[in-house]
Amino acid sequence: MGYLEGFLVTLKQHRLFGGKRVTTSYSGGRVAKKVSDPEGRDDKITKPERMHGRHVLNRYDDGMEKCIGCELCAGVCPAKCIYVRGADNDPQDPTSPGERYGFVYEINYLRCIHCDLCVEACPTEAITESKLFEFSFTNRRDAVYTKAELVVGDDGRPQRLPWEDWRPGEYQQTSGWMRATSPGGDADFVGHVGWSSELGYGVRPPEESAP
């Protein structure tokens, strides 16, 4: 058929003539308002185990902050979006178990690329990433998350900011970092937990090892 063959190819792709769709439509809008969500928001799909979302600053079981103000996260950040200043702990009323704590901690989400390098650099597992990525602020000041906004609440859950889209159950997803007990394959470390406890969750179990 030569030139005309292409027409048949495109026509067959059309749904009227038996083509398939490879994308899915959003679930929100008027239909969702009637069916599931009164605000008419889209349903969210289950997020992958290691998804990188916005950060949280974790605390120990006893309520102490994990951050020791070492600035390694700021140093490793390729987007230069983290600003940290450490300060000495007050011996009478320490903020963190160590000598110093994170006095100022800011992340600019207009710059953050969610590469997770800060999480890998952190020596105390103070900073981890939640799975939340649906946040749309309306000014630049809101885009800079301060320490007060990043640190987890007394129940160990991330704080919900007004412009963030949290759904029931998502508060649990505070930490998306890797919990493999033997990534190098050394049998001595299989099942050996190498991380500390978290406020509200205790010591989290290891990820199931790959078959």
């Binding site: 292409g6 027409f7 190819v9 495109t10 026509l11 792709q13 059309h14 749904r15 009227l16 083509g19 398939k20 769709r21 490879v22 994308t23 899915t24 439509s25 959003y26 809008g29």
Partner: protein, 406 residues
């Protein structure tokens, strides 16, 4: 009084009111049709690319265009410093108004079944479902589509910027060269039906064998379809706004409502050109005879013609989207070669052949005479075509030898 509605021959209040009503309806239908065309195109092309297309604004996303339009209204209107301000502001209207005016001469409906001439009775007045029926309808169509070139040409020129200028230079060259093929294929239709008035052309196509696609033996239709696609700057002839080469083409510097006007004009041209094709080659509002039944939609009364027209129109709108989904863009030299070295000669040759047979018909030739003359004429055309392609080949070989890029 060339193009005035025949209702206005004896001025009465009712007649004026009906004409005004028709004006409003044509205006609104034009706008709504354009809006739906944009949606239709996005939806169909999404279907052909295994996507979904607009689906959020209104049912099936049908209000998407409206939302886009409202958004464009509220955007900042920029005028470049180096532009020619007056022409820059004028150009969108030059593109938009002709697109609208074409609607006025297309018969949008009417009772043509069984050889009637398309008059219907509305509110006790005999009228046509057509805004104006000038005796020179087809010429007006050609004139308006030529004026639309000015809009595009001046837009690029007045922008005071490189790429828009390049886009508009391409546009004017392309439209001028394809206008010739368009006119020649149209001439065949005019010759066969013997009238320039659009309603006359529709009235002539009273049966399937008299539809001009059959009456002029398909070739003028094919040429008209291709040339019309080029006139519309639609893919695969959209060199004017080839995004990969020219940013946005002639409308790069336009924003806000001026850009919306260009956008609207482009899609309205698509709809009107489909309407013109239906009118010229497919009998416009003429009903299709199915199984001895003259007009299966006759229950709709005076509006059955309109429904027939819309059904035929829809087929062509789909075809235009189909073109866009299928064909890659032509290179500039391919475009010019196709226009000048293929379409114009073929259109001219076919026109001469039809003219010959027409002369034969007027002189009362017998069928044998006609066949013989036709075969001889076809042979002559074939020889001429072969000579032409030989000349073209020699020319391109010489250019290759001289090292020209094309």
């Amino acid at each position: 009084m060339l193009a005035l509605d025949e209702l206005l021959d004896d001025l009465s209040f009712g007649a004026v009111l009906i004409v005004l009503l028709k004006v409003v309806i044509v205006f609104v239908v034009g706008l709504v049709a354009t809006m739906l065309m944009v949606w239709f195109e996005r939806k169909v092309i999404a279907g052909m690319q295994n996507r979904i297309g607009p689906n959020k604004a209104g049912p099936w996303g049908i209000l998407q265009t409206l939302a886009d339009g409202i958004k464009l209204f509220f955007k900042e209107d920029l005028i470049p410093d180096r532009s020619d301000r007056f022409v820059f502001k004028l150009a969108p209207y030059l593109a938009f108004v002709p697109a609208f005016l074409v609607w006025s001469v297309i018969p949008l409906g009417g009772d043509f079944s069984g050889g009637k001439d398309g008059h219907v009775v509305l509110f006790d007045h005999v009228t046509r479902l057509q805004l104006a029926d000038p005796a020179i309808g087809v010429l007006l169509l050609l004139a308006l589509s030529s004026i639309a070139v000015y809009g595009i040409m001046l837009a690029g020129w007045a922008s005071g910027s490189k790429y828009p200028l390049l886009g508009s230079v391409r546009a004017s060259a392309q439209m001028v060269s394809y206008e010739a093929a368009l006119g020649l294929s149209l001439a065949a239709v005019i010759m066969v039906s013997g009238t320039l008035s659009t309603s006359g052309i529709v009235a002539y196509q009273s049966s399937l064998s008299k539809w001009h696609i059959a009456g002029t033996a398909f070739v003028p239709f094919a040429i008209f379809l291709i040339a019309a696609t080029a006139e519309l700057n639609r893919p695969p002839f959209d060199l004017v706004e080839a995004e990969q080469e020219l940013v946005g083409g002639f409308n790069t510097e336009y924003s806000s409502i001026r850009f919306a006007l260009f956008f609207l004009a482009e899609f309205m041209n698509t709809v009107t050109m489909s309407g013109v094709i239906v009118t010229l080659f497919f009998g416009g509002p003429q009903p299709l005879k199915i199984g001895g039944n003259d007009n299966i939609l006759s229950v709709l009364g005076p509006f059955s013609g309109t429904v027939w027209f819309l059904l035929k129109l829809l087929v062509f709108l789909y075809i235009y989207v189909w073109f866009r989904a299928t064909l890659p863009r032509l290179r500039y030299d391919q475009l010019m070669n196709l226009g000048w070295k293929v379409m114009i000669p073929v259109a001219l040759g076919w026109f001469m052949l039809l003219a010959l047979l027409r002369v034969g018909g007027d002189r009362g030739w017998t069928r044998l005479h006609k066949t013989t003359v036709g075969v001889v004429a076809l042979a002559v055309l074939a020889v001429a075509g072969a000579l032409l392609s030989l000349a073209v080949n020699v020319g391109s070989r010489n250019r290759d030898r001289e090292g020209a890029t094309f």
